[in-house]
């Protein structure tokens, strides 16, 4: 079993679904990353995923929690009260999924939490592959990465407004066409 106690900036170690999550302090993420890479051998950054937790556990966002009056029959997926998911420390999480290319393929999730407007140090210097991943997180979530060599939009147009994967970004869309009667 790997010992994560000496990871710099460690806030919490979680073990769920057989996966280890290391929550670290956002400003110290580069130190933690270096420690994980050099001391513990996590030389491979599989993925960098940002998540927006705006509205997490509040009614109407995921559309499954009922109104205080009970079930809302007009919304098919409402079921009365239900256990709320655990609160999240901040709005955005950034999960670095690390892998060590060695026997047993150990994986660990390095996670930092930030609020809207805060930035995270870039790990491009640790894993060059983070380049596009961080650009993607910036593009779709608006999380800025300090020290990134080229932080620009990657999937959306350069002049796009807003960050589409945020929960408060409207999905819009065209109404589906059906025949004219009614």
């Amino acid at each position: 079993m790997l010992n994560f106690n000496r990871v710099p900036g460690l806030v919490e170690v979680q073990d769920r679904h057989g996966e280890t999550t290391l929550v670290v302090d956002a400003p110290r993420v580069v130190d933690s990353a270096l420690h994980l890479r050099d001391e513990l051998g996590f030389n491979f950054l599989s993925d960098l995923a940002a998540t927006d937790y705006l509205g997490w556990g509040k009614a109407g966002v995921s559309g499954y929690i009922g109104t205080p009056a009970g079930r809302d029959l007009n919304e098919p997926s409402t079921q009365g009260y239900q256990r709320l998911p655990g609160a999240k420390p901040q709005r955005f999480s950034i999960s670095y999924h690390l892998l060590a290319l060695r026997e047993g393929a150990p994986r660990v999730r390095l996670q930092v939490w930030v609020d809207d407007g805060q930035s995270v140090p870039s790990v491009v210097s640790v894993w060059p592959t983070a380049d596009w991943f961080e650009r993607e997180a910036w593009d779709l979530f608006g999380i800025a990465f300090d020290g990134h060599p080229n932080l620009s939009r990657i999937l959306m147009d350069d002049d796009w407004e807003g960050h589409p994967l945020r929960k408060d970004y409207p999905i819009g869309g065209e109404p589906v066409r059906f025949s004219g009667d009614e």
């Binding site: 098919p76 589906v176 066409r177 059906f178 025949s179 009667d181 009614e182």
Partner: protein, 165 residues
């Protein structure tokens, strides 16, 4: 691995050999390969043998559709106007085929086997409006131009493992 001059010529033999083989291209509009029975093509609505529609307007297909391309408006059956054996029937049943992704979830969702995905795949049209299939079009007999491979062999009416394990 250094190249061998003669090995460079092996490719010529491969291409030359094909000259004497029958081409694999299917001459499509004239020849239609039989589709397998599980093929998911154009939708069909079904009727019971007594002429009543199987669809009872429960909208489960519309709820199941990941592309939101089905619209069902249900209405009560009355003794004068009995369309389906249930309480209600689908007064409007429309599928916007230009949105449909042919996942077959409607077929899975329908508890009465009223909607199935048939074997027709020739559903191109010149206008988007023509791709909105109304209930009459879906109820109509399919053109039956496309043959289907042996259903006994390529589909499983009874779970296979019950016999073979």
């Amino acid at each position: 691995m250094s190249p061998q001059p003669l090995d460079s010529l092996k490719g010529f033999a491969v291409t030359f050999r094909q000259l004497f083989k029958k081409p694999v291209t299917q001459q499509y509009p004239e020849y239609k390969r039989p589709v397998y029975p599980r093929f998911r093509g154009r939708h069909r609505l079904h009727v019971h043998e007594n002429g009543l529609e199987k669809c009872v307007g429960c909208s489960l297909c519309a709820a199941a559709c990941p592309a939101d391309c089905i619209r069902v408006v249900a209405e009560e059956n009355t003794p004068e106007n009995r369309v389906s054996p249930g309480e209600r029937y689908a007064r409007i049943y429309e599928i916007n085929m230009s949105r449909c992704i042919f996942c077959g979830y409607c077929e899975l969702a329908c508890p009465f086997d009223a909607i199935t995905l048939g074997n027709e795949y020739e559903i191109s049209e010149y206008s988007r409006d023509d791709l909105i299939y109304t209930k009459d079009m879906l109820l109509a007999e399919p053109m039956k131009k496309i043959p289907v491979a042996d259903r006994e062999l390529y589909d499983t009416p009874i779970p296979y493992y019950k016999e073979h394990s």
